[in-house]
């Protein structure tokens, strides 16, 4: 599917523009027009977009264009910075009370946001940290909601307190607190029923729970696919009940997740975690910078660059580049580049961070197969002697047979690898510019936007 990438669009607009000095009003406005559409398509609330664009515009006009960037890139840089600032510059976690005091966490949200699943996921996280955690089933409305929490709690090895679906949620919560205190629990998480933010009676119930037991953290669970209405939902929950943080669920889909920005802008509350999958362990830290580039449709390019810089030894990278340029790249080098890739989290995680590849395109590539293939290649190379690795021309049929036996593969596969390798070497020879050698900027990734 054609995914109109914002950075591509901007690159087209500014293709012919290489103005040196300051950002002009025209530069900024034409870039921001595209940014605006990108944000709206990502479901950022219209009003938030308007305000945001205004802020960026004010900041951007008259700014110096940094060396090596074109005006469009400069605007994106500012947009990105502003977005990260808006989403909170550091990651936060659920605040727990110090010492042995019981921390009561209440989960709230619309139907289907993923409260029950998330409740169990948090419990798992807290358990890992050594906190004795109790779950409390207060969704007495949805059929089988209590069973769902019980089953998930059991999977996490966390106790679930429930009194069936005939009791009042406020009474259940009170009883759960007593039970927790009596049995030395440190954290109590109350799972509540999904409710509409305009359902006064149901919202009243949450306030009642909150005032009946000493809730110290109220967490709003929001589906990351939520549209323009996210601001209404968040501000109503904030006004009526008061929230301390937000958890965004279902971010493993291909949604751009503009709701994150909207909610943050409207409530000012931190986003604590993001739900990244169906398994109970798939609850991750929230990174404002990653979210910003995702909303802008630029993948996690920034994160990737960061990771790459951490993983790749500068010196090694420099040597590798030299070799590539001279087409002296050998199997040893191949191995070390694979190792570096693994340090970055493997092929699937790198693909996931690429712009336009976020979520959607990975299954098509089938990373499982690709990684299996890489493993086989690796085992073939491991079966070579160091001399063979450094000098592939040594590989005669009998050596190849030995390698095939050693790696447990067919000799045809060894042949294929050697052939591919030689082709790659030829290609490197033909395109020295491709390796970034022209301008002599070595070991550096150029930003793809």
């Amino acid at each position: 599917m054609a995914f109109d990438n914002l950075s591509e669009k901007l690159q087209n607009i500014f293709k012919n523009l290489r103005s040196k000095g300051k950002l002009t009003e025209d530069d900024v406005k034409s870039a921001l027009k595209e940014v605006k559409i990108a944000l709206l398509e990502a479901d950022v609330n219209f009003k938030v977009v308007k305000q945001f664009i205004k802020t960026v515009q004010e900041r951007a006009i008259g700014q110096d264009v940094m060396n090596g960037l074109n005006p469009g890139q400069m605007v994106i840089k500012i947009v990105n910075e502003e977005m990260i600032a808006l989403m909170g510059s550091e990651t936060t976690e659920i605040a727990l009370k110090k010492g042995g005091d019981l921390t009561v966490i209440m989960m709230a949200g619309l139907q289907g946001a993923g409260k029950t699943t998330t409740t169990a996921k948090i419990a798992g996280k807290l358990k890992q940290k050594g906190k004795k955690t109790l779950l409390c089933a207060c969704d007495v409305y949805r059929p089988a909601a209590i069973d769902q929490l019980k089953i998930n709690g059991e999977k996490q090895g966390v106790e679930v307190f429930s009194m069936g679906d005939k009791k009042n949620p406020v009474d259940i919560a009170k009883a759960a607190v007593l039970h927790a205190k009596k049995n030395g629990f440190q954290v109590l998480i109350i799972d509540t029923a999904g409710r509409l933010h305009i359902d006064e009676e149901m919202m009243e119930e949450l306030s009642a729970i909150k005032s009946a037991v000493d809730v110290s953290q109220t967490v709003l669970v929001v589906d990351s696919m939520t549209g323009q209405d996210a601001v209404n939902v968040a501000s109503m929950f904030e006004d009526k009940i008061g929230i301390d943080g937000v958890i965004l669920t279902k971010l493993d889909g291909d949604t751009r997740g503009g709701a994150a920005l909207s909610i943050r802008a409207v409530t000012g509350k931190p986003i604590l975690y993001v739900g990244m999958g169906e398994k109970l362990s798939d609850l991750e830290q929230f990174y404002p910078d990653r979210m910003a580039s995702r909303i802008l449709g630029m993948g996690d390019v920034l994160t990737m660059i960061e990771k790459a810089q951490e993983a790749i030894d500068e010196e090694e990278a420099r040597k590798l580049e030299q070799k590539m340029k001279k087409a002296e790249f050998d199997f040893e080098d191949y191995l070390s580049s694979v190792t570096q890739m693994k340090k970055m989290g493997g092929l699937s995680s790198i693909l996931g961070m690429m712009p336009g590849m976020g979520g959607m395109k990975i299954p098509e590539i089938d990373e499982g197969e690709a990684e299996k293939g890489m493993k086989r290649t690796e085992s073939i190379i491991f079966s070579m002697t160091p001399q063979e690795r450094r000098n592939p021309s040594l590989l005669n049929p009998s050596r190849k047979r030995r390698i095939a036996d050693g790696a447990g593969v067919d000799i045809a596969e060894v042949n294929r690898l050697v052939k591919q390798f030689e082709q790659a070497r030829k290609m490197m020879k033909q395109f020295p510019g491709m390796m970034g050698g022209k301008r002599g900027k070595r070991g550096k990734f150029t930003l793809p936007f």
Partner: protein, 312 residues
């Protein structure tokens, strides 16, 4: 017919009150607040449509068609644009004739969608409606993944008074469907309603599982009329388009069910979907009760969005 129509309107309008407050009051203030048709006027309309989750593309198309009409009919007064805007939205929503043929035939209705949109609830409500219409209904609980999903559906089946075929948690959903088809056939059921596990549309193996379910139904129940409904949460934004598109690749989608229309979400995604994908919305959910699942009519939906209090 008129009875049903009234109740459709009554419920829809009641369910959409908040929506209407947002869209209509906004729109009406534009029509009365502007003295001439200019860029600002169009920009205001754009804002209101986008705030209604209609999306950038559908909004642009609606505005373009509105502008053409204004020019052709030489309209100068903003107030005269109201009806033109209604017409433009209706035109955008045109799809093939709405069909509820599955109600008349021996049929299998497959309910699919991402997690948490309300598939199980919709299956329960639809079972209740069909049962009330005198149909023999069997429900298949093929969501064997989510903890306690089967129990949730059983509760709905009991409320509706219909039979449910289920499987163990973790069982192969296709095998549940296989059993359900056998049961539906032996009992001479009119409609087999299949609930499936929520799946994110970008997860390859889950979409494969869906194809497998389809193959089982095709093979075991070749004579049955097939209806495949994608359930979408009306609070979902533009990602709903992506969901519908990708489900369309894995299965032959015959319609959309839009749930949770009783919130403040505008449900404008219905416009976007019909406009861009030409898949008809067939049902909307406007509340928690069995009768809160309503058949959908695009024209009436748009009318309801623009209807003022006095009209009701």
């Amino acid at each position: 017919m008129s009875e049903e129509k009234k109740s459709f309107f009554g419920r829809l309008v009641a369910g959409l009150t908040k929506t209407r407050d947002n869209i209509v009051s906004g729109i009406d203030s534009i029509f009365s607040g502007f003295s001439s048709i200019d860029d600002d006027f169009y920009e205001e309309i754009e804002e209101i449509l986008i705030m209604g989750d209609l999306g950038v593309k559908a909004t642009e198309e609606i505005l373009d068609s509105l502008k053409v009409k204004v020019k052709e009919e030489k309209i100068k007064e903003p107030s005269a644009c109201r009806q033109l805007l209604i017409d433009s939205i209706k035109e955008q929503m045109q799809t093939e004739e709405l069909a509820y043929r599955f109600e008349e035939e021996t049929s299998v209705v497959l309910m699919i969608g991402v997690n948490g949109v309300g598939k199980t609830t919709t299956v329960g409500k639809l079972a209740g409606k069909l049962k009330a219409d005198g149909k023999r209904v069997v429900i298949a609980a093929a969501d064997t993944f989510r903890a306690a999903a089967g129990e949730q559906l059983l509760e709905w089946a009991n409320r509706a008074g219909v039979e449910m075929i289920g499987g163990q948690e973790g069982a192969d959903p296709a095998s549940v469907i296989f059993d359900a088809v056998a049961s539906a056939k032996s009992k001479g059921a009119d409609v087999l309603l299949c609930d499936t596990a929520g799946r994110l549309h970008n997860k390859k193996n889950l979409m494969e599982e869906l194809k497998k379910i389809n193959r089982v139904i095709d093979r075991e129940y070749p004579g049955a009329y097939r209806e495949t409904l994608v359930v979408l949460d009306s609070t979902t934004g533009q990602n709903a388009l992506s969901q519908a598109r990708q489900f369309k690749e894995a299965a032959e989608i015959t319609g959309i069910v839009l749930t949770k229309m009783d919130g403040t979400a505008k449900g404008g995604i219905a416009v976007a979907i019909q406009s861009e994908l030409k898949i008809p919305v067939k049902y909307i959910g406007v509340g928690e009760k069995i009768e809160d699942l309503q058949k959908f009519s695009a024209d009436e939906f748009v009318d309801a969005l623009f209807r003022t209090e006095e009209d009701v």
